[in-house]
């Protein structure tokens, strides 16, 4: 073998192999080096607006908030010398991707994160300290405080709000009319929601009352917890180490959902839904009333007549999960001043109103909650006003407890809704054990 190739060819092959080897080892050592401990200052003097000098910056975001990030990046690139290269990563793989990149010191200059994972990242020193820069902003006090709070660790601020994503009820006004429900009167209690869902479901012909991601821990957190909060109850203690997910209020919420499953009020697929397609069901126009992320409002079909309402508790009240992405500069970025230029711009009035609000999204600043776009759409006012009633839960072990598809919360969810819920107390203990792990 290879004898016919002659010595010269062999030598060339050897050379190529050696070169490949050199490159490969170079890569390996590059990954292994730079073990200098995280949490750096990010370099450079802190200025309110950063530096715009034509630097190319890398940025990561997750698929769930892709349209919002893309719109901001596009507008920034069009009006600045700096260039941002945005990489969108599947939502389910985002934690793993960031974790692996952090392990190999390979994080981009900027990375957004689901706000619930931020405490884990700040406590591990993945973000650069932005305290001085944030405080220098003239509108620092008007930034969405739930995100700032989630990104504050040992009195230092590490992130700013990037996209706010609130859980709200979407209801199909056409189906409401057909079911002889008042399309201007969305449910204000869980019991009413139940009644409406059943009335719409009775229309038949492929129409279903409601829908939820029944095999998706993140969906449960986002859409079920507001019903518990609306009643004034807590789901986690202050420092996120103890769960109270078997409370009487929680049980009432699970019972309602269980009823929808047992009586076939939910659209098919709820049992399997891992979160990848759960927001794709409502826009088909065959679902009556279900919780949805506010970020999808701008993506709904133009001809779908939909109303927006707060998620109610069992006996009234309203709340929301103030989710979405917070964004920071990675501790290893060498272009912190340039990266800050993007962040400071993205929070400015022009970006917030002309990009964020224009896309029917929730603005990151309370002083801009009422603007020319939201004033034209009462649904946006409903959502913007909800921010103050909502919560962002805090736990260091949030991902492995609530988002892990094999984690204890999903087990609790499924036992509570697809089974009889008799194991609730035991499942709640497993959640607490994972939080305190």
């Amino acid at each position: 073998m290879g004898r016919t190739a002659g010595p010269r060819r062999n030598a060339a092959r050897l050379g190529v192999t050696a070169l490949a080897l050199l490159v490969a080892t170079g890569l390996v050592t590059a990954c292994g080096s730079g073990d200098d401990g995280g949490g750096g200052e990010g370099g450079g003097a802190a200025t309110a607006t950063g530096v715009d000098d034509g630097t190319t910056l890398t940025m990561w975001t997750r698929a769930a908030t892709r349209p919002q990030s893309e719109a901001l990046v596009k507008a920034y690139n069009a009006s600045h010398k700096n260039r941002i290269e945005l990489t969108v990563i599947p939502t389910d793989d985002y934690q793993a991707k960031v974790g692996a990149a952090a392990g190999s010191r390979d994080l981009p200059d900027l990375f957004a994160s689901d706000v619930v994972f931020v405490p884990n990242y700040t406590s591990s020193g993945l973000f650069a300290d932005l305290t001085e820069r944030v405080d220098a902003l003239p509108f620092a006090d008007q930034l969405a405080q739930s995100h700032i709070k989630a990104g504050t660790y040992e009195d230092k601020k590490y992130v700013v709000p990037h996209t706010l994503d609130l859980s709200v009820l979407f209801y199909n006004k056409d189906l409401y009319r057909r079911a002889e429900l008042d399309p201007e009167k969305p449910p204000t209690t869980l019991a009413e929601w139940d009644k409406h869902a059943r009335a719409v479901d009775a229309l038949g012909g492929g129409v279903n009352g409601t829908f939820f991601g029944g095999n998706c821990g993140g969906c449960g957190v986002f859409t079920w917890w507001p019903s518990i909060w609306a009643a004034g109850d807590d789901v986690l203690n202050e420092d996120g180490t103890k769960a109270s997910l078997a409370s009487d209020t929680a049980k009432k919420v699970y019972e309602t959902y269980r009823g929808w499953v047992n009586d076939d009020i939910v659209a098919p697929g709820a049992r399997d839904e891992t979160g990848t397609t759960w927001t794709g069901v409502f826009p088909k126009g065959k679902t009556g009333v279900m919780p949805m992320p506010s970020t999808t409002l701008g993506l709904m079909p133009k001809d779908l007549d939909l109303g927006v309402a707060p998620i109610p508790g069992p006996d009234g009240g309203k709340s929301t999960f103030v989710g979405g992405d917070a964004i920071g500069i990675s501790a290893i970025s060498k272009s912190a001043d340039q990266a800050w230029n993007f962040l400071a711009w993205s929070l400015g009035e022009k970006a917030q109103v002309d990009v964020v609000a224009a896309n029917k999204d929730v603005v990151a600043r309370t002083d801009l909650a009422s603007n020319k776009h939201s004033d034209a759409d009462p649904r946006l006012v409903t959502i913007n006003e909800l921010v103050k009633d909502g919560r962002t839960p805090y736990a260091l072990k949030f991902g492995q407890t609530f988002n892990d598809p094999n984690g204890p919360w999903l087990t609790l969810m499924r036992n509570a809704v697809f089974k009889d819920g008799s194991s609730l107390d035991k499942d709640n203990e497993a959640v607490t054990a994972s939080l305190a792990d």
């Binding site: 080892t25 993945l126 598809p405």
Partner: protein, 327 residues
Amino acid sequence: MQPQVADEAAAGRHAASTSRTRRAARPHPPHQAGGPWWRSRKVKGLGYAAPTAAFVTVFFLLPLLLVGQMSLSDWPLLAGNRGGNAPENYTDITDGTLFWPAVRFTLLYTVIVTVILLGLALLLALLVQEHRPGVGFFRTVYFLPGALGLASASLLFWGLYSPTTGPLSPLLEGLGLVDEPVSFLGAPTSALLSTVFLVVWKFAGFYMLILLVGLQRIPHEVYEAARMDGADRWQIFRRITLPLLRPSLALTLLLCATGSLLAFDQFFILTKGGPDNSTVTIVQLIYREAFQRLDLGTAAALSIIVLAVLLLLNVLQFRGLRRADEP
């Protein structure tokens, strides 16, 4: 021409043994005394082997040592190495509630997949072994899914199975075979069977190819002789095809069992270990420890255990393989 053909057949039949004898009989070339040292056989040999050795060192041995070190250390993914904690990572493994179910499930999956795949692959190979018109078409069709990546194939099936967006469930409903939407991945048994179906669809053609090569290595004369002695089809299959196919069967068994024990992509994409943690494989557990629980130490310890089990299994199977190869 006749004698030459016969010669070739004979040569082919005894190719293995004669080449072995020839190699053994050939004397070593005399050492070239007086030549420059870099021309010597030894140095040249080392030179040829060096690139591979370097590759193996960099991409296998060093990572393996690193994994070994990780498995003995407290090593969170985000924070890095915090120093040794042996043997905590190993004792932690069996504390996890998912470990033993995952072991049981991985073994069950391996047995099911191996039995179905090997049976079907053998059937397909027997169907397409003869040269008949159109046989090339069928060989290609059977093999085609094997040309797809496992992740792509899994995504394809995930789309097909999806009760919200997939076409399979409406199709079955339209044909009147079922009354309500089918939840392919919604219950433990159907999730397992749906995944097995994907894997069989994807790999049957590949294993068919290996077995086909094995079938075609069996000389025609043996079959002819058997037929002359009055053996029927079943006897020929049992007494000639199967025994002479044993090396190929052992090879496919080895590949199939090892691959199934390391199953990850298909379950990660189709079921994520669900529903209700019923389809968690061992490798998924490794992934979960590393990237959900962000604990590289425990993940490394699990990897070491899996490596040890696989090594043991391969040694056993290789022994079987070698025995099967002996006449």
